[in-house]
């Protein structure tokens, strides 16, 4: 029964596909997967906007949306309708084609990225062998969309915002890649389902063997999530939008549906990158304890994704925005070396897997933790120290 | 096997690691430096205690000796193997070294608080402690030698810590070079041992060089074998002489007082000098082989042939008295203690020679405690008196420095051997007892007694000078600035808690430690003797006999006489002025001069060894300047002449044709340069055209 529940969607799709002639089957299968992804994650987007507004309101001690539907639950629908019916304004001096293509360029790669994320057991649209690389490659197309929007609008704020955003995206792409590299090193594969499989099994009688439960994995997960925050331009790294300085950055000249597309693209990339983070470090759709194995895999993935989203919302409600120089210093002087260190630590962990003498486990832990903690002390002490402000002196 | 045996390497490794980290630590990280070094040694102490407990559990059941050997590297079919060993001897040394070392570390925090190179100091201290701990656990003479040299290096660095002071630099050099003489002997002994025995491992499942099989192989069935064994032993003992400052290589030890006082304490109590004694104790089976049990038989059947212990005994006994005599006449508070150390080390060797490992080691342990106590006390006094070291300018410190006074008194009584309550009494008595029963001669026993008398005398003299009477500091200006901290005028004051607490702890242990080896309960002897039982004169059953009591009475009398004599000369008529000559000097001016000048040993060395060296160096210099210099000059002129000829040929024969070629080349070059017009795309065009032409040519040429 649990098995059937777990595979419910897979079986459903199989049943549907089998109704059709064999020629059409691959096409239909792909179409169904794509439709499911688009439907589910667009729905999640709507839900998340509501959740974010409610959550931020809680943090800021106000009520949040509460007029449309119970608890304001239909607020996203109202917002969507409003967006769709708004006038689509294109500045006269803008580069029409580029201005038009930018939001599409933003959303399409993000949707492509979902093709390789396993959302449940046997539930991945395409199991590419170089799936992680695909994800990263597709993700790098976002920068182009940002640039197109910024430059195509022919507005100095949007261009400045775009330049800022690109600098940030490129700077944080490197730590992102390196943080993921440790997992690749240990799992020995770039395929995301294979990485999930590499985290199968349990240690210490029931605790799942996720990468996040190792020293390097913990550090890598933290670094990955920080880089992901920056990569999706969320607070405290939301300089590209920086509404108090450059209004809304590259999106300043967009309105109506195009703006909604940007908005959608941002949230979709947030989900996608969280999904990859979950896959890399949190065991993907695997359950944390052996006695929870009866719950369907996609439920676990959804729960983890929700936890990540809540974490992001919490972060947004808590942290102030960084300054541009702080952002860059943090990326190059802390994130980048630290992710390199995690790669080294992952290699050390991988190499020490063969140790078998008394206390090998403890030694391994201690060694790995030392590999991470010592550079962390050396690098982090400077950045995490209380800031002293020098006023005009 | 106990887990601690496998992790034993951590004990020296932790201080080494701390030293390594501290070497890279910036100078301003003072708190971090102290914390790191102290915590590293504290962990070492904890591990040492664990090791000690591990050996304790097996003490009753015979030999506890666990070793871990590994191959360092392999060349040909020879494998160089190292390892570490845990046995009672190593265990007590580990605990002693790390315990005393830890207290000295803590004390140093206070003593060196104002020094600019605090971090460097702790780096060296940690290195020192680590090297000594490594030496203790070494299961190979080679590893021991490596650590031995590290100890020497660390002592060099620390004695010369204030290297901007010429005396300190000279003292460091002197210590290094003098001990090096002994080290050469040790190195030769090691090589000989390797060639004779084929291994440098001490214990290796019956194959080690201290075990009977190997000993039998070295000793062989003949007189030659016996000579080999004694020769190796004497060479190794030569190393110990250098390290432990025995006659005639004792001259570096008093000069080593130029280092900071905690360093002196460390050198004299826990690490440097103890290394020599420990070495002899470690290789004791080599020094005093158990002849009957060696297979093959001995040509001199019946009485066992003399071995190296004979030399050890005599060197120890003579040094004990010799150094004590010098100590009587010194005025520097630390120098007195230094000579006292030399003398006490003589006692230890005497004990090793006549009584075996347990006797010598017992004195080593007790001495480590009370000598560390005395040195740290002296440091406290110096600290309190603003860097005054001359006892003639102290006096009356009993009242301003009560804690220091009390602990110092404990140390002094322990060193003098005041009966029953103090550890020095028991350990010294043990040695005297063994010497009394020695078969060779009675003279070492009498020398030992005389030394005890002198010890009590000079310690009392020092106590009286420093703590009794009245303040004499203001009466004469200080002779010279010592240390980087210039003496400041002001009243003496008690040292901070971080210095006095270690003193108190050491004082307690200076008392308590003695009860581990009293004749009534000779625990330490059985503990150590479990292995070396057959080798010494310790016969447990006789320890409470009439003879023992009689000996204790004699030594009590001697100590009392020493203290009384000193009190009569120095205590009854308080010395009021720093310029007043010593009462002893007034009574025996000539003898006192000899003692004050340390029997002119340094001068004797300067007149013989050093002068010979200088002469040889001058001769070499002359040889260099005239003979070799002349040769070089001749070659120089020859080369110069040839060069002139060559140049002439070059300029007037070769260059003419070359110049013509060059002119031509320049003309053509100018034309070619015109072709490159600096425009990138023109070049690219050229390349493209050339490529296309080439391809067409190839196609045409039928390359298909």
């Amino acid at each position: 029964m649990a098995e059937t529940l777990d595979q419910a969607f897979v079986l459903l799709k199989q049943w549907l596909v089998d109704r059709f002639p064999a020629d059409l089957q691959p096409l239909l299968s792909a179409f169904l997967s794509a439709a499911a992804i688009v439907g589910v994650f667009a729905g999640l987007f709507a839900f998340t906007t509501w959740l974010e507004r409610k959550g931020l309101a809680r943090i800021q001690n106000r009520l949040g949306p509460n007029r449309v539907g119970p608890y304001g639950l239909f607020q996203p629908i109202a917002d969507g309708l409003k967006m769709l019916t708004k006038e689509d304004i294109v500045p006269r001096s803008a580069d029409q084609l580029v201005h038009f293509l930018a939001p599409i360029m933003k959303v399409v790669p993000v949707l492509l990225a979902y093709a390789v994320i396993p959302v449940g057991r046997n539930m991945v649209a395409t199991d590419l062998e170089a799936g992680l690389l695909f994800f990263l490659a597709v993700g790098s197309a976002t920068e182009l969309a940002v640039f197109m929007a910024g430059w195509g609008s022919h507005n100095k704020y949007s261009l400045l915002g775009a330049m800022r955003a690109i600098a940030q995206l490129i700077s944080y792409e490197i730590p992102l890649v390196f943080a993921a590299l440790g997992v690749v090193l240990v799992a020995g594969s770039l395929s995301l389902p294979a990485i999930v499989d590499s985290q199968a099994g349990y240690d210490w009688g029931g605790l799942a063997r996720w990468h996040v439960f190792t020293p390097w994995g913990l550090a890598g997960f933290g670094l990955f999530m920080i880089a992901a925050t920056a990569k999706t331009a969320r607070s405290p790294f939301d300089l590209p939008e920086g509404e108090s300085e450059i209004i809304a950055g590259h999106m300043v000249e967009y309105s109506g549906f195009k703006y909604a597309l940007f908005y959608l693209g941002e949230y979709l990339s947030l989900f996608a990158i969280s999904g990859v983070g979950i896959t890399l470090f949190l065991g993907g759709w695997r359950e944390p304890f052996s006695w929870l194995a009866w719950m369907p895999s996609y439920v676990w993935f959804g729960l983890k994704l929700l936890a990540c989203i809540v974490g992001f919302i919490w972060l947004r409600g808590t942290m102030p925005r960084l300054r541009a120089d702080q952002l860059m210093n943090f990326a190059w002087k802390f994130m980048f070396p630290m992710t390199l260190v995690t790669v080294v630590a992952a290699a050390a962990w991988h190499l020490s897997a063969g140790w078998n003498f008394t206390g090998a486990g403890l030694w391994r832990w201690a060694l790995d933790a030392a590999v991470i903690l010592i550079p962390y002390r050396l690098l982090g002490a400077r950045h995490l120290a209380p800031r002293t402000y020098r006023f005009a002196d | 096997m106990n887990w601690i045996v496998h992790q034993l390497w951590l004990i020296p490794a932790l201080p080494f690691l701390a030293a390594g980290v501290l070497a890279l630590t910036p100078r301003r990280q003072r708190a971090f430096a102290a914390r790191l070094a102290i915590s590293a040694l504290a962990v070492s102490l904890a591990l040492s205690c664990a090791a000690f407990v591990a050996t304790l559990g097996h003490a009753g059941t015979g030999t506890f000796r666990e070793r871990v050997n590994f191959t360092w590297f392999q060349f040909g079919d020879q494998a160089l193997r190292l390892g570490w060993v845990l046995d009672p001897l190593a265990a007590v040394m580990l605990v002693m070294v790390s315990f005393v070392g830890l207290l000295i570390f803590i004390y140093s925090v206070g003593y060196m608080a104002h020094d600019a190179n605090f971090t460097r100091f702790f780096c060296f201290l940690a290195l020192f402690a680590g090297a000594m701990l490594g030496l203790v656990i070494a299961n190979s003479l080679l590893l021991l030698f490596v650590c031995w040299e590290l100890v020497g290096l660390a002592s060099y660095l620390l004695i010369g810590f204030w290297f901007h002071k010429p005396e300190a630099a000279a003292a460091a050099k002197k210590a290094f070079i003098t001990t090096r003489i002994g080290d050469v002997a040790l190195f030769l002994g090691m090589l000989w041992l390797y060639s004779a025995g084929g291994t440098l491992l001490f214990y290796d499942a019956g194959e080690g060089c201290l075990e009977n099989a190997a000993l039998a192989r070295i000793a062989g069935p003949s007189l030659v074998g016996w000579g080999t064994l004694v020769g190796i032993s004497l060479l190794i003992f030569g190393g110990a002489i250098g390290k432990s400052g025995q006659l005639p290589l004792h001259v570096w030890l008093p000069d080593a007082m130029e280092g900071p006082t905690p360093v002196s304490a460390l050198i004299h109590a826990a690490t440097m000098v103890a290394a020599g004694v420990f070495l002899v104790a470690r290789v004791f089976p080599l020094m005093k082989p158990d002849w009957p049990s060696l297979a093959g038989g001995i040509p001199l059947a019946g009485t066992p042939p003399p071995d190296a212990t004979l030399a050890i005994t005599w060197v120890g006994a003579i040094t004990a008295v010799f150094a004590a005599l010098i100590a009587v006449a010194q005025t520097d508070i630390k120098r007195i203690l230094a000579y006292s150390t030399v003398s006490q080390l003589g006692y230890m060797f005497l004990g090793l020679g006549v009584g075996g490992v347990a006797v010598g080691m017992f004195h080593l342990l007790t001495h480590a405690c009370f000598k560390a106590l005395l040195f740290l006390g002296a440091g406290s006094v110096i600290h309190g008196c603003h860097d005054e070291q001359d006892i003639r300018r102290m006096g009356g410190l009993r009242r301003p420095m009560p804690v220091t006074f009390a602990t110092y008194a404990v140390g002094m009584m322990a060193l003098s051997g005041v009966p029953l309550l103090f550890s020095g009494f028991w350990s010294k008595d043990e040695i005297l007892h063994a010497a009394h029963g020695w078969a060779g001669s009675r003279i070492p026993f009498y020398l030992g007694l005389f030394g005890a008398l002198l010890t009590a005398f000079y310690m009392t003299r020092q106590m009286v000078y420093v703590f009794f009477g009245q303040r004499r500091a203001a009466s004469t200006p200080p002779a010279a600035a010592s240390g980087i901290r210039h003496p400041a005028s002001g009243e003496p004051h008690e040292s901070p808690l971080v210095m006095t607490v270690p003193l108190a702890i050491l004082a307690v242990s200076a008392i308590v430690l003695g009860f581990l080896g009293t004749p009534a309960w000779p625990w330490l002897q059985t503990y150590l003797g479990a292995d070396h039982g057959g080798s010494g004169g310790v016969e447990l059953a006789k320890l409470l006999t009439k003879e023992t009591l009689w000996l204790m009475a004699i030594s009590t009398a001697v100590v009392t006489a020493g203290i009384g004599l000193a009190w009569r000369w120095y205590g009854q008529r308080p010395i009021t002025d720093a310029g007043t000559p010593d009462p002893l000097q007034m009574s025996f001016p000539a003898a006192f001069r000899w003692l004050r000048q340390k029997f002119f040993v340094d001068e004797f060395y300067a007149a013989t060894v050093i002068r010979a060296h200088a002469a040889w160096a001058r001769f070499s210099d002359l040889l260099d300047a005239w003979l070799w210099g002349g040769l070089v000059l001749a070659v120089h002129f020859l080369t110069q002449g040839l060069s002139w000829a060559s140049r002439f040929f070059d300029e007037y024969v070769v260059n003419l044709g070359f110049d013509a070629a060059c002119r031509r080349l320049r003309r053509d070059g100018a034309f070619a340069a015109g072709l490159s017009d600096g425009k990138l795309q023109n070049y690219l065009r050229g390349i493209g055209t050339a490529f296309a032409c080439l391809l067409v040519l190839l196609l045409w040429g039928g390359c298909r």
């Binding site: - | 490159s676 017009d677 425009k679 795309q681 690219l684 493209g688």
Partner: protein, 104 residues
């Protein structure tokens, strides 16, 4: 036309377009872009030969070569663009035919 030839001809055309761009455009950045196109064409050749070249034992050389080539292209672009920006700072121009300081 065999599949290999198809790809080779596409690569040749791509190379030609890149070369033409590099030869005719004045802007240094575009010249660099043309060179990138030529490199890409070369990469396409590598992959085509790897796929259809008839060396089944040699399973990875073509791919590895292209990976290295991509890395080299990245390095070349970075340094080239930095040079262009630096030149622009001094000369306030990116027109290649204006830079002829190196003429003989």
């Amino acid at each position: 036309m065999s599949p290999l030839e198809r790809y080779l001809i596409v690569a040749a055309l791509l190379f030609g377009i890149g070369l033409a761009g590099a030869l005719t455009r004045r802007n240094a950045i575009l010249v660099l872009a043309g060179i990138e196109l030529m490199l890409t064409a070369a990469n396409l050749n590598f992959i085509a030969f790897w796929r259809y070249g008839g060396h089944p034992a040699d399973s990875g050389t073509g791919i590895v070569f292209v990976l290295f080539s991509i890395a080299v292209a990245a390095a070349e672009t970075a340094v080239g663009l930095a040079l262009i920006v630096t030149i622009y700072r001094h000369r306030h121009s990116t027109k290649l035919d204006e830079f002829d300081e190196l003429k003989g």
